[in-house]
């Protein structure tokens, strides 16, 4: 069958909202775009464990520690679901990892900021996971089957992440003056980077139009960012905390909150490797990979030995 006809059939499926599955024909560009998008997402989950892992041993109670451990373990799981989905497109796991380790592949810019206080665990759960959920829920309907199915699992699990974060913020904001200050300081530092998580403005976003056409993106960056702001402002009010944006106000006419200008220079600077923790994060990933090499080899050797014994 010629490519034009195959492409026409593919587009008809997309238009009818029929899912594309691994062995179905798909345009090369669709495949490549998905590999980039899914692997970036997987990398973000894996690197996203690092800022939080720092606080597991410092959690203020056993209850908080158990939750932090479970959350970080979930993130490892989410990374693995997504790497598996990505591999159905014909890439090898090791190639994806080596792109992460060499710095060639991107991950969410948010994880290049440091976690300075316990309140950051609250702010990350509330804002960063909140923003991630905004992004991910529509992807449960993504046109590529394995990706959509992985996102369904991720979204089911992510809800606890946001709630435990908000509970931390709630406890701190109802606590002593020092605790309240800590919560406000965390909000001040995480607010703008969280808004940047949705990516460049629609005018600047080079992949949006094609990705919307293909059903691997269901809302534009600006639409999702607006949804997030609208959902989050009342949550901040409930905490009695102030969002660090003097231009933030309700716009009756639009039925949305207006908000101030985002510092895009900062965003592009962090994306291109110059954020406060980019080097630290990549070093930690590379160290884990290198120091785990003997375990991977030993497991292979043991599997071979067992197989030989069984055959004998």
């Amino acid at each position: 069958m010629d490519t034009a006809l195959l492409e026409q059939r593919f587009n008809e499926k997309i238009d009818r909202d029929v899912r594309i599955e691994p062995k179905d024909w798909m345009p090369d560009h669709y495949r490549k775009t998905l590999i980039r998008q899914i692997s970036q997402h997987a990398h973000s989950e894996i690197v996203g464990m690092l800022p939080e892992a720092n606080w597991i041993t410092r959690a203020p109670s056993l209850r908080r520690k158990a939750a932090a451990l479970a959350k970080v373990q979930d993130e490892a799981g989410h990374g693995l679901y997504l790497y598996s989905a990505c591999e159905t497109l014909g890439v090898e796991r090791d190639d994806l990892l080596s792109d992460l380790h060499s710095g060639k592949a991107k991950y969410s810019s948010i994880f290049n900021y440091p976690t300075l206080s316990w309140a950051d665990m609250g702010a990350i759960g509330w804002l960063v996971d909140g923003a991630a959920i905004m992004n991910q829920v529509p992807l449960c309907r993504a046109s590529y089957g394995p990706y959509a199915r992985a996102m369904v699992r991720v979204c089911k699990e992510e809800s606890f992440h946001q709630r435990q974060g908000y509970e931390i913020m709630l406890t701190l904001s109802k606590g002593s003056e020092v605790q309240k200050k800590m919560a406000q300081d965390a909000l001040n530092r995480w607010w703008w980077p969280s808004l940047m998580m949705f990516g460049p403005t629609d005018a600047e976003s080079k992949h949006t139009e094609q990705s919307m056409r293909w059903g691997i993106k269901r809302f534009t960056n600006d639409e999702l960012r607006q949804k997030f702001v609208d959902a989050t402002v009342p949550q901040a009010d409930l905490l009695g905390l102030t969002i660090p944006d003097k231009d933030l106000k309700w716009n009756e006419e639009r039925g949305h909150y207006d908000f101030g200008a985002i510092n895009w220079d900062e965003f592009f600077n962090v994306i291109s490797g110059n954020g406060p923790c980019n080097k630290q994060r990549l070093d930690a990933r590379n160290k884990a990979w290198e120091e785990g090499a003997w375990v991977r080899e030993a497991a292979n050797a043991y599997a071979e030995k067992k197989a030989k014994r069984k055959a004998a």
Binding site: M1, Q73, Y81, T88, E157, R296, E297, A299, N300, Y302
Partner: protein, 94 residues
């Protein structure tokens, strides 16, 4: 030596009485490790009571290109369904 761990497909029975259902895949050095990893990756919230793992290379799948010839013949055989047969209303429970 740096051989990648092979890929395994994971199937989970969510509770006794239901069939195993494909949930995803993972890498592991051998079957035993695949089961252990599947437990950690796919059943953190009581999703299952039983796990199957099969090395992905052992799965033979039909070709989507053949879908027409494979499944089309069943479409015009409505007489395989109970509603095809005209029976009087007086007849209850059949």
């Amino acid at each position: 030596m740096n051989k990648n761990w092979p890929l395994w497909e994971v199937f989970i029975r969510s509770k006794a009485g239901l069939n195993h259902k494909h949930v995803g895949s993972l890498h592991a050095a051998d079957a035993e490790m695949a089961i252990q990893n599947a437990r950690d990756v796919y059943t953190r919230r009581n999703e299952g009571v039983s796990i199957w793992v099969v090395e992905s290379k052992h799965i033979t799948a039909s070709d989507p290109e053949d879908a027409d010839q494979m499944y089309e013949p069943a479409k015009d055989k409505v007489y395989r369904h109970p509603t095809f047969y005209n029976l009087p209303d007086e007849l209850k429970h059949m």
